[in-house]
């Protein structure tokens, strides 16, 4: 009887245990052609051998702040179906919009401490702007996979808890014309290190600094 109980418990724990054992981690280090680390690079991994697991409710929440008349973060990846909140931390009003193909929306004139949100249910690139402050810009990459991340100043981004197998690794930055794509195979229980060298275009954003003879608005 006791043996039977133990066997039953083992049967329940086995999948969880095997998941823990077989989970892989990928660490991407990205540099430009001059060897400088790439900050704010978005990467995502799409499984090639099995469908991506369905999202959990916690995955479908993200925030893009408006603070000091800038969007924060500048780049972000979210899963398809994510509700993205746009809290305004400034004393001035903002008017958030996107004219992108995956999501066309406007969040009209909201003031300080007001939070508005949009559900992004189509994968693709969604550039966000403010109709009042032309220099404000953010990029939301909507992906259909739970495995994504954004690099820090050291150019490194890590994604954990991936089942072993083959993946398409995609990397995108606002200074790239199109995403860099490559197939990688992740091994069980290992840290898989991937080094990417990308050619970035010059940073061509609308200048915010004031000019002589007028305010920057």
């Amino acid at each position: 009887m006791r043996f039977k109980r133990l066997a039953l418990l083992a049967l329940f724990l086995l999948p969880a245990f095997s998941m823990f054992v077989t989970a892989a981690e990928v660490r991407v280090a990205a540099t430009d052609h001059k060897g400088s680390p790439i900050d704010e690079l978005v990467i995502w991994l799409e499984p090639l051998d099995a469908p991506a697991p369905p999202p959990t409710p916690d995955e479908l929440q993200a925030t893009v702040e408006q603070i000091d008349e800038e969007f924060d973060p500048y780049t972000i990846a979210v899963r398809k179906g994510t509700k993205v909140e746009f809290p305004n931390r400034d004393a001035v009003q903002h008017h958030v919009y996107s004219l992108s193909k995956p999501a066309q929306f406007e969040i009209p004139l909201h003031g300080g401490d007001e939070t508005e949100s949009v559900v992004l249910d189509q994968p693709g690139l969604v550039p966000i702007g403010c109709n009042i402050h032309d220099w404000m810009l953010s990029y939301i990459v909507v992906v259909d996979t739970p495995w994504f991340g954004t690099s820090q100043a050291d150019g490194v981004v890590s994604v954990a808890d991936l089942p072993s197998g083959r993946y398409q690794l995609s990397a995108w930055h606002p200074r790239m014309r199109q995403a860099d794509e490559r197939t990688i195979t992740l091994s069980e229980g290992e840290l898989n290190e991937v080094t990417i060298e990308l050619r970035l275009r010059p940073d061509r954003r609308i200048r915010r600094a004031p000019s002589s003879g007028g305010a920057s608005y």
Binding site: L109, N131, R204, R208, P210
Partner: protein, 279 residues
């Protein structure tokens, strides 16, 4: 004495800008610089040259009315202290209201700005003090994140305590702004103006000495007198600016103009260096 009064006015205004209450709702901006003018007397001969230290502080507030309409209020003060000819020192207190219409969404939508400014001028030569207004309409278009252009029409009217300093000038200016890099900006503009122009001349110049009653303001010496004429002006301006972070910039400007009035040609070149900081 009047110069001291100007400094007090400006100090009071600057102090106001430092109070947190004002800073919360108004956006202050300061602009300090140096300007050199190779014909500060605006003469056709015996041109006088001088340089000035300039300063301007302004507080502006943008009110977003709808998606496409914005209103702007600006209060400002500026002063110029000329190194050699202190009689040219002018200070202004001004207030302006503006209305912006944006034709569409995003940074590439065309913008139409209308602005009306009233100003009070305080001059070292008290007869040059007075009141004026400046009305401006401007069409702006951005073509890429780096390139934008504008076409501006403006009308200036100034009424001084003495008539010779008064006048009306209408102008059209077309400008192109190109950001060479993320930090460096090149701006070029062409200007055509018509209206009153103020010049100074020596008594010994017979062609002008017979022009009406002469009043000597003493700015350039005992035998110089101001006079005005109607004419037109063509000018070109080029400036290089460098951003210092998101809130500051320095710019180096060159302005050349040629005006024709009463059959005479007046030429003027101005070099300027400015530092601008938006709080």
């Amino acid at each position: 004495m009047r110069g001291l009064q100007n400094v007090r006015w400006l100090s009071a205004l600057a102090a106001l800008g430092l109070t947190p209450v004002v800073a919360q709702t108004w956006k202050p901006q300061v602009d300090v610089g140096y300007v050199y003018n190779n014909n500060v007397s605006n003469s056709i001969r015996e041109e006088q040259t001088d340089g000035a230290v300039t300063a301007r502080v302004e507080f502006s507030q943008v009110r977003v009315l709808t998606r496409d309409w914005q209103a702007t209020m600006t209060f400002g003060a500026d002063t110029a202290a000329w190194l050699e000819y202190s009689g040219l020192n002018l200070s202004h207190l001004d207030a302006a209201v503006g209305l912006r219409r944006k034709f569409g969404l995003g940074p590439y939508a065309t913008k139409l700005d209308v602005r009306l400014q009233g100003l009070h001028q305080i001059a070292d030569v008290s007869e040059w003090s007075g009141n004026g207004y400046h009305a401006e309409i401007s069409l702006q278009k951005r073509f890429t994140p780096l390139l934008s252009a504008s076409l501006t029409g403006d009308l200036r009217r100034f009424d001084a305590e003495r008539y010779v300093y008064s006048g009306t000038v209408g102008a059209v200016t077309s400008a192109v702004v190109y950001d060479i890099t993320a930090d460096w900006r090149l701006r070029g503009s062409l200007r055509y103006a018509e209206g009153t122009q103020l010049s100074w001349c020596r008594e010994s110049f017979p062609e002008f000495s017979g022009k009406g009653p002469q009043w000597r303001d003493g700015i350039f010496g005992g035998d110089w007198f101001p006079y005005q004429d109607e004419g037109h002006l063509r000018g070109i301006n080029v400036s290089f600016g460098r951003a210092i972070g998101a809130s500051s910039a320095v710019s180096l400007g060159y302005d050349a103009s040629e005006s024709r009035a009463g059959g005479h040609v007046y030429r003027n070149q101005i070099f300027s260096l400015n530092y601008i900081h938006a709080f």
